[in-house]
Symmetry: C2
Subunit: 365 residues, 2 copies
């Protein structure tokens, strides 16, 4: 199908899409599982392309630039969070294909990256560093930023020397998190149920694997972890068990993945402002229990430990993440499908048989 694009704004950029990641969110929108799809539906929020046309006010991009767009299609750009690069928490954030963008040409629905071309607000595009192969960029815009952000905030930068970073769950998010943590120079512990993923975790940069079902190993690991990134489905209900692993001044992060386990193995997130849709569905979450999480305040207080939640990251952190991934050759593990076989990719994501991310390559233009 074709659709008429919105009028060109002075802030717009036209891009030809080269690659677009497929996320479980997309599948649920395609299947209208949440009853919120609007037609025509063009999903996709892990978008990579080349600039082919620019509005007059977009001066930091040029035709031919390789650019990326995640789930943030527009934000106010004037609030304190936007100014600080924390547009992920802008109250006016517009999601890539759930929202309407506004400019001097009016208000228009924004579409996603399952297509050949896109007209979008050029102020929200990220330049892709030349050393990252384009096919890897889409998943970095999702899984990458979600796990990078807590590390970068905990370390107040990207130097993890002397710190121990643990990643619970070695899946779509975890396999990228292990790479980031290792390249930051931290001691890296992969946490998994059982030891079957030991070799894989070590290939990704883990120094050791901690089997969370092994009581002795867990006891021996008490008080050794500075930063714990919790990407595993389920299990977080036992917060007390994880608190004992932490060093004083340590920080545990529950990242968005936990909440979107509802999306059946989803390793991604749609947008900060989407939670209104989750709330009535919370009994379906498998990552966190429908009931409240419980923990004992004592070990948190005496251990001087923090528990944080993270739904993604802003533009500032996304730029830093892309640069860091480029410098350190961090790559998600992907399967590439041509656009003409999009339905095959969609079915594999739907089935949960993708290891670990599906990416569509535009072979139609």
């Amino acid at each position: 199908m074709t659709y008429p694009v919105k009028p060109m704004s002075k802030y717009d950029a036209d891009i030809v899409i080269t690659y677009n990641g497929v996320c479980h969110t997309d599948i649920h929108m395609i299947d209208n599982d949440w009853g919120m799809a609007r037609w025509p539906l063009i999903p996709g929020h892990e978008i990579v392309g080349h600039v082919i046309n620019l509005g007059s006010q977009i001066t930091d991009l040029k035709v031919g630039d390789v650019v990326a767009l995640g789930c943030m299609a527009q934000s106010c750009l004037t609030c304190e969070p936007c100014i600080k690069g924390l547009d992920n928490i802008c109250a006016d954030l517009v999601f890539t294909y759930f929202g309407d963008t506004k400019d001097e040409t009016g208000t228009h629905p924004h579409h996603g990256g399952f297509g050949s071309y896109m007209r979008t607000d050029g102020r929200k595009l990220f330049k892709v560093p030349p050393s990252i192969e384009e096919k890897y960029v889409g998943p970095l815009m999702c899984a990458g930023i979600t796990v990078f952000e807590p590390m970068r905030h905990f370390l107040n930068g990207t130097d993890g020397t002397g710190k121990t970073i643990a990643v619970a769950g070695i899946g779509g998010l975890g396999h990228v998190a292990l790479q980031f943590a290792a390249k930051m120079g931290a001691k890296v512990i992969a946490m998994s149920r059982g030891t079957s993923k030991t070799d894989f975790a070590k290939e990704l940069g883990a120094h050791e694997l901690l089997d969370t079902t092994n009581g002795e190993a867990m006891a021996a690991a008490a008080g050794t972890i500075d930063l714990l990134i919790f990407t595993a489905s389920g299990g977080f209900a036992d917060v007390n068990q994880y608190l004992t692993l932490m060093k004083p001044y340590g920080n545990m992060y529950v990242i968005f993945h936990l909440c979107v386990c509802f999306f059946v193995n989803s390793r991604d997130y749609p947008s900060n402002n989407l939670h209104i849709f989750f709330v009535p569905l919370s009994s379906h979450f498998c990552g966190i229990p429908a009931e409240d999480v419980k923990f004992n305040v004592m070990p948190m207080v005496f251990g001087r430990i923090s528990i944080s939640g993270n739904p993604g990251g802003g533009s500032g952190d996304t730029k830093l993440m892309l640069q860091f991934a480029a410098e350190h050759d961090i790559k998600p593990i992907i399967e590439v499908f041509p656009h003409s076989k999009a339905n095959e990719a969609i079915q594999k994501v739907r089935d949960g048989t993708i290891r670990f991310r599906a990416v569509l390559k535009n072979d139609l233009v």
Copy 2:
């Protein structure tokens, strides 16, 4: 009574005590409520005095210096936390009158500040800035550092410009916290049950008082607080209510006070390494429920909020706190008693009628 002091170590300092704060911990030790007192018992861990004699290795102090000692009488000085000034989490921390110090003269029980003189490890003494009146220093070493530490870590310094800091509970800790927050330049919100403390809170620097029993006011305050220091007894069980008040990237701190509400209105803490004594007594805590605290992960994750616990502060933060208190004339509200009326002070603290801290003045030497 008199007691023989330990042999002088090259690291020791002898001080004549001028003031010593009375903490509920002291009362419980005097009353042997925990069955852990050892005799002779000389309580006191909010100690201020003048140096009268120094070991050969203590070169950064001189005779006549005004110095303070809190609850940390000794630490290993070689571990990473000690090197970073975070000796509050040193595994070998020695509490001022529960522990045994070690040096080249051997191992000796350490005594507290309810006395005229003290021999103690000079490496753990803090120089008191000359502009702080000595009588105010003791409570700063307890209440002061406990509320200063989370602010200083959240702000990564002491500049609160543009931030909103809320203090829940206007008691022994809260009345000092409000002063610190105001002098850091933050917008300061005092949180209290009812509005009776409005004028008092404003005198201490609060810009407004939020009545936590007023549903409308609480709803209107949603999403407005960057840092919430929770010093109130009870109430933290409803974590979800407080989560809604937080701005994204905000941080809630549950400080030690909550845990020591067991000490009946205590506004202080004994030591990081004391928690082993609390655990079996947890059903007596009034600040936190005996059962685990519960909260919904969703608003924490989507709001990008952190929940932290804090048991006190290390030497680095204590030095910074004393300097900040000196520069900004921050004073706890105290009642001073001569040593000769120590029993009267003890009884007022025992009764909970002190506003807000009792301090003993040494009138015996």
